[in-house]
């Protein structure tokens, strides 16, 4: 174990042999990792939005302004009992006005509108397609049914819940692995070439180590550790840059009707990215020094 740690420490020390080459490698690895991270970030956010909706379809139902509230309340109860409806959040015009005031922040008071409230009664419902039904057919039928209710003005589906988004996710997932594979290849080549440079610089030492009986792993281990460290550092740098970018655009989609706050990668994915790039760096080094 002591020998392993000594060799690992030497691998890290050797990274200072060619500071410029190492810096360029670090930048290259960080850029490639940033691309991979950005790709993952988009997917993670779409996934998160889907999860937030509980994997269900969301729809907003708007009644005509001035609708009979007694009738509307009865309809809310009817809707709750419909097949596939998993939840319903209702808003009377007054509640909608208060919610709007709150959403717009302190200092905004719509109390003066209370007597002539222009907002209609609304309800937001979560729908889950019954197992035996096709989603499109079910949604179409449900929208028609809701629109047929007396007093209902319009029904709007949450844009994130459309099939288009689902298709996009499916295509992205299909593209994800080839893209990640390609980026991994680039990282491996970049790190491998830098390690080769380091090996060339140390060729006398390597020759002497061979001559005094060093086993191949003794010579390779510091180089593998160096490649692994380059991968880790590059990916970590990429995540720092990604976090800065994410902080900058976090609220960019946070407006009606999207209300999407762009979040950062989940911790497991972030750590996975760092580890994966580190391993690719180590593999790149291994390929570079195997002979």
């Amino acid at each position: 174990m002591g020998l392993f740690l000594r060799l690992a420490a030497r691998g890290l020390r050797d990274l200072t042999l060619h500071p410029w080459a190492q810096a360029f490698t670090l930048i290259a690895v960080a850029m490639v990792s940033l691309l991979a991270g950005a790709f993952l970030l988009v997917l993670a956010n779409v996934d998160r939005e889907l999860a937030r909706a509980g994997g269900q379809i969301q729809a907003q139902i708007y009644w005509r302004p001035g609708a009979n509230m007694t009738q509307v309340r009865g309809q809310w109860e009817d809707i709750r009992g419909m097949e596939g409806v998993r939840g319903l959040q209702s808003f009377t015009p007054d509640q909608a006005l208060s919610a709007l005031s709150n959403a717009l922040g302190e200092g905004v008071d719509f109390a003066w509108l209370r007597t002539q409230n222009p907002l209609p009664p609304t309800a937001e419902i979560q729908l889950a397609t019954p197992p035996e039904a096709r989603e499109t057919d079910y949604v179409k039928a449900m929208v028609s049914r809701l629109l047929a209710l007396p007093g209902v003005d319009k029904v709007r589906l949450n844009p994130l819940q459309t099939e288009t988004v689902r298709t996009w996710i499916a295509v992205s997932r299909r593209v994800l692995w080839p893209a990640i594979g390609f980026l991994a290849l680039v990282v491996g080549l970049v790190v491998g070439n830098t390690i080769k440079l380091s090996l060339l610089d140390r060729r006398d030492e390597v020759e002497i180590l061979h001559l005094v009986g060093a086993r191949p792993w003794y010579i390779r281990l510091p180089l593998l550790v160096g490649g692994f460290a380059q991968g880790l550092c590059g990916a970590s740098l990429a995540l720092v840059l990604l976090k800065m970018a994410q902080t900058g655009v976090r609220e960019i989609l946070n407006f009606p009707p999207l209300f999407i706050q762009i979040g950062f990668l989940p911790l497991a994915q972030a750590l996975g990215l760092i580890l994966a790039v580190g391993l690719v760096g180590a593999v790149g080094s291994y390929v570079a020094v195997r002979d």
Binding site: R6, D204, H210, V212, G213, R215, Y218
Partner: protein, 257 residues
């Protein structure tokens, strides 16, 4: 310890070694003698696994070199200490670090390695240079570092290629005392040298004279010590075949001895 049978080696069209055969028992001392290009270094490199055995057989410390897989070469090298003609030391590292390298690759604890190296450096006269980078040493001092490195792991066999070539006679003789001491402890030594006075330090040692890659003569070092260069040449010519080739069985050494 070392058994070589009809060993040949060529670099392209040029044969560096032809049909060389000899044996050396455990604890033996063998001088390889001969002019530049005689094949001494090639023979040492073959015995160390630095060159592949292409023709013939060679067995070193129980390792059959003609069939030794590449992955087992480090095992062979752990049994064999080598002093190279060009030293092969790392100039930016200190004397201590260079000598300790042999122990380091064997996983010896750094503290224990340092104690052992410092003790050895005292015996090669480098105790006050332990922390000096090797690049700042003279050729003779670098030679001693290389010798210390070959000895530090107590190998079964030491292969030394002109180990006293860069040293003045006094120092060369002092270092020969070290080799003799190791020999006394049972280490087998094969040393390539031109220096008759060095050879005279181990009169009981065997001498294998090489010329153009062939065995030219085998003698006892003590016999050569009393001869001048010309006399030796005459003696070798007299005991060799008229055509200058070794005996058919390639056992010129055994014949001469």
């Amino acid at each position: 310890m070392v058994h070589v049978e009809r060993l040949s080696h060529s670099f392209g069209q040029h044969f560096a070694l032809r049909d060389v055969s000899f044996s050396l028992e455990k604890g033996g001392f063998l001088f390889l003698n001969g002019p530049s290009g005689a094949g001494k270094t090639t023979l040492l490199r073959l015995l160390h696994g630095a060159l592949p055995v292409m023709q013939g057989r060679a067995s070193v410390a129980g390792f059959e070199l003609s069939t030794l897989p590449r992955r087992r070469v480090p095992d062979l090298r752990r049994e064999v200490g080598v002093v190279f003609q060009d030293f092969k030391i790392l100039p930016e590292r200190t004397v201590l670090q260079n000598v300790a390298l042999t122990l380091e690759v064997r996983g010896v604890d750094p503290g224990a390695a340092e104690r052992r190296v410092r003790a050895l450096l005292a015996s090669v006269g480098l105790e006050d240079k332990a922390l000096t980078p090797c690049g700042l040493l003279s050729g003779g001092e670098q030679q001693r570092v290389a010798i210390a490195r070959s000895m530090v792991a107590n190998p079964k066999l030491i292969l030394a290629d002109e180990p006293t070539g860069n040293l003045d006679l006094d120092l060369a003789l002092r270092l020969m005392d070290l080799f003799k001491q190791l020999h006394t402890y049972g280490t087998t030594i094969i040393m390539a040298t031109h220096n008759r006075e060095v050879m005279a330090q181990v009169p009981e040692a065997q001498v294998l004279a090489l010329r153009d890659g062939r065995i030219w003569e085998g003698q006892i070092a003590g016999q050569i010590a009393g001869q001048t260069e010309g006399q030796t040449g005459t003696a070798q010519a007299e005991t060799s075949r008229a055509d200058g080739k070794p005996d058919d069985d390639g056992q010129a050494w055994e014949d001469g001895a």
